[in-house]
């Protein structure tokens, strides 16, 4: 039994061309979406991280340098004040000696002069610590004391004797002024010492806190870089697994910016496209192999109508004159009918062999399987095999490419024919699968079965149990690829001596709106990049 498909697929090329254009546009759209994001490269993130750490370190260094400078100034100031205090105290000792023992007053004046020299020589340093008003504080006191000492000296020279109220008064003032001058200098000294220790403490704190902050910045930097890189590496690992499983959905953008991983995604998308092209070639070449297998059956079956035509035509030629009109009409009708039969025998195969673009549509599996069985009918007849198709009523449709799925089922049926003995039986059963929203197609043969030890390698490319030159070992591998693209899977169970059962599980159509939209059924875990 043969049937011509109701909807003739578009002529070779036309459908494929439109399909290719659509695919190319989609690939371009994804590429643009990937590229047209603001660029924030990993390199930039690394640079920024290290720049932040450097700026922080530089800030710390500047603060420390400034602080050290401050400390140096203060130490220098302390030295100056210290020298000054020593000179002033020296002057007071000479003053005391002069008052007590009448020794030379010029020593005291000399020390005062030295003290004044210290102040004027280090005017810059003093101003740096005490501000520009420093001279108002120390110099007047020193000069006042100096003036008093000079007056005392002059008084001494004039009177030449001890005592006298003017001298007593002057001595008291000298003592008082000297006392104040020394205590003011000492107060300044202790104040600056306290200030210096504050500055030292600040240096220490700057160091400790900035070290902690630097640690935080470096850890944060490493953490952010790590999250970004490891996250992307994990994602690409998932993509690789997905692609290995036969899901050729291109990687789409999953972040708001692009970087070096975007370049990787672009390269992988190009690779996916190339893989897909090659798989299409593989599927097509495998289909041609199946066609080749079917050809022997077709050739044999063609012999019958051809023989009928040959015999009829020769008889007609031989006996033309002696035949009645009715007999001639009958013979011509036979020729026409047998020519039609011959055409039917090859048209199914030609339809199947034709290269068409991938086209997704809701499919009635029992109908598709009947067509597939018709395709193999000559083979089945040739070997005297009985094939039985059973299907549950009201099966939901599946969403798929009829050409490719027919190829899968044909492959399984041809395998079953190979496995069956002459005159054997094959069962094809369509039922709802155990899991909801899936349909199962079982192709069952009653041949010698598949040994348990080769079951795991059955779907490996180039694995074959058929003799040299008979099988390429690609049939089940290609079939598995096609079924995986449809979101389903193929399973096999077999017991030695009891035959084998191949089960194809396919998801049913749930979203009719997707018709003609996506190339592949959209799996739940759609890829994102």
């Amino acid at each position: 039994m043969t049937s011509i498909p109701q909807n003739q697929p578009p002529a070779v090329g036309a459908g494929g061309q439109a399909e290719r254009t659509r695919l190319a546009e989609r690939a371009e759209g994804i590429r643009r979406a990937l590229v047209e994001r603001p660029r924030f490269s990993l390199r930039l993130q690394m640079y920024l991280g290290f720049l932040a750490a450097f700026i922080l370190s530089a800030g710390v260094a500047v603060a420390l340098v400034y602080n050290f400078h401050d400390m140096e100034n203060k130490i220098r100031f302390l030295e100056i004040v210290n020298d000054y205090v020593m000179e002033v105290e020296q002057a007071r000792r000479f003053e005391k000696n002069f008052l007590l023992y009448g020794s030379n007053l010029s020593d005291a004046l000399d020390s005062v002069f030295q003290a004044e020299q210290i102040l004027t020589r280090n005017a810059g340093e003093l101003a740096a610590v005490m501000g520009p008003g420093w001279s108002q504080v120390m110099l007047p006191k020193l000069r006042g004391y100096q003036a008093l000492l000079e007056r005392l000296g002059r008084l001494q020279g004039a009177a030449g004797a001890q005592g006298g109220p003017a001298r007593q008064d002057l001595q008291a003032r000298v003592r008082k002024e000297g006392q104040e001058m020394v205590s003011a200098a000492l107060a300044l000294l202790s104040k600056e010492k306290a200030s210096l220790s504050t500055t030292t403490r600040r240096s220490r704190q700057i160091l400790i806190y900035s070290l902690a902050l630097l640690l935080v910045v470096l850890v944060l930097n490493a953490y952010l870089l790590g999250i970004r890189m490891l996250g992307s590496i994990n994602r690409f690992g998932e993509y690789a697994n997905r692609i290995a499983a036969g899901d050729y959905t291109p990687i789409t953008p999953s972040r708001r910016y692009r970087d070096e991983f975007t370049d990787l995604a672009l390269a992988i998308n190009a690779m996916i496209q190339e893989l897909e092209n090659r798989e299409a070639v593989l599927i097509q070449s495998h289909k041609m192999r199946a066609v080749g297998t079917l050809t022997s059956g077709v050739a044999h079956e063609l012999n019958n109508p051809l023989n009928n035509i040959t015999l009829t035509a020769h008889v007609l030629q031989e006996d033309y004159a002696g035949l009645s009109d009715a007999e001639r009409q009958e013979m011509i009708a036979d020729v026409v009918q047998e020519a039609g039969r011959a055409k039917k025998i090859i048209s199914n195969l030609l339809d199947f062999a034709r290269e068409t673009g991938s086209q997704l549509e809701p499919l009635d599996l029992p109908h598709l399987l009947q067509e597939t069985i018709d395709l193999a009918a000559n083979q089945i007849k040739l070997l005297g095999i009985k094939i039985q198709l059973q299907s549950s009523d009201n099966l939901p449709r599946v969403h798929g490419d009829s050409q490719q799925l027919r190829q899968v089922f044909l492959n399984l049926i041809l395998n079953a024919i190979d496995a069956s003995a002459k005159g054997g039986k094959i069962q094809v059963i369509v039922v709802p699968a155990d899991e909801p929203n899936y349909v199962a197609v079982k192709v069952i043969d009653f041949g010698s079965g598949i040994p348990a030890h080769i079951l795991p390698s059955l779907f490996d490319p180039f694995f074959t149990t058929k003799g040299r030159g008979k099988g390429t070992g690609l049939g089940l591998s290609v079939s598995q690829g096609i079924v995986a693209k449809h979101g389903g899977r193929i399973m096999v169970s077999s017991q030695a001596g009891q035959g084998a059962t191949f089960t194809v599980v396919l998801p049913v159509t749930t979203i009719p709106a997707e018709l003609g939209e996506g190339r592949h059924p959209e799996p739940a875990n759609r890829a994102k990049a």
Binding site: N303, E318, K381
Partner: protein, 137 residues
């Protein structure tokens, strides 16, 4: 006119019998045509045909079984097998099992007549081969 040579023709394609019966009659064969192997075997059980022409590939009983049956029942009869191109190995097997000759589909009426004439000669009959070919075929 010699007595007609009795021929049984078995092929599950009805047109083969329809065309060959008159074509063979022209060279002096009395042809009984069968499309069903079981009925042919039943007829062969009861009557000897000098020549049996059978297709090898048929649905229930194949030509090889018919050959074996005839060799057993009527060892004198000549069996001619009709084969397809794809079945040359089967044809050789048939020859080994004692078939007189084989002829491959598609064939012309003359091809079969020639083989039958050869078989007839082997049986001691002479057929008027020329009678069938007015155009000199």
């Amino acid at each position: 006119m010699p007595e007609p040579l009795e021929v049984l023709l078995l092929d599950d394609e009805p047109i083969v019998g329809r065309r060959l019966k008159p074509a063979l009659a022209k060279i002096g064969c009395a042809v009984e045509v069968f499309e069903n192997p079981e009925k042919a075997l039943a007829r062969l059980q009861e009557k000897e045909f000098k020549i049996v022409v059978t297709d090898i590939r048929m649905d229930d009983i194949d030509g090889m079984q018919v050959l074996e049956f005839v060799r057993e029942r009527w060892p004198e009869s000549k069996v001619i097998m009709i084969t397809g191109y794809a079945m040359m190995s089967l044809a050789r097997e048939a020859m080994e099992k004692g078939a007189f000759d084989f002829i491959a589909k598609p064939f012309k009426p003359d091809d079969l007549r020639r083989v039958i004439a050869k078989a007839a000669r082997a049986l001691g009959y002479t057929l008027d081969f020329e009678a069938a070919a007015p155009e000199g075929g």
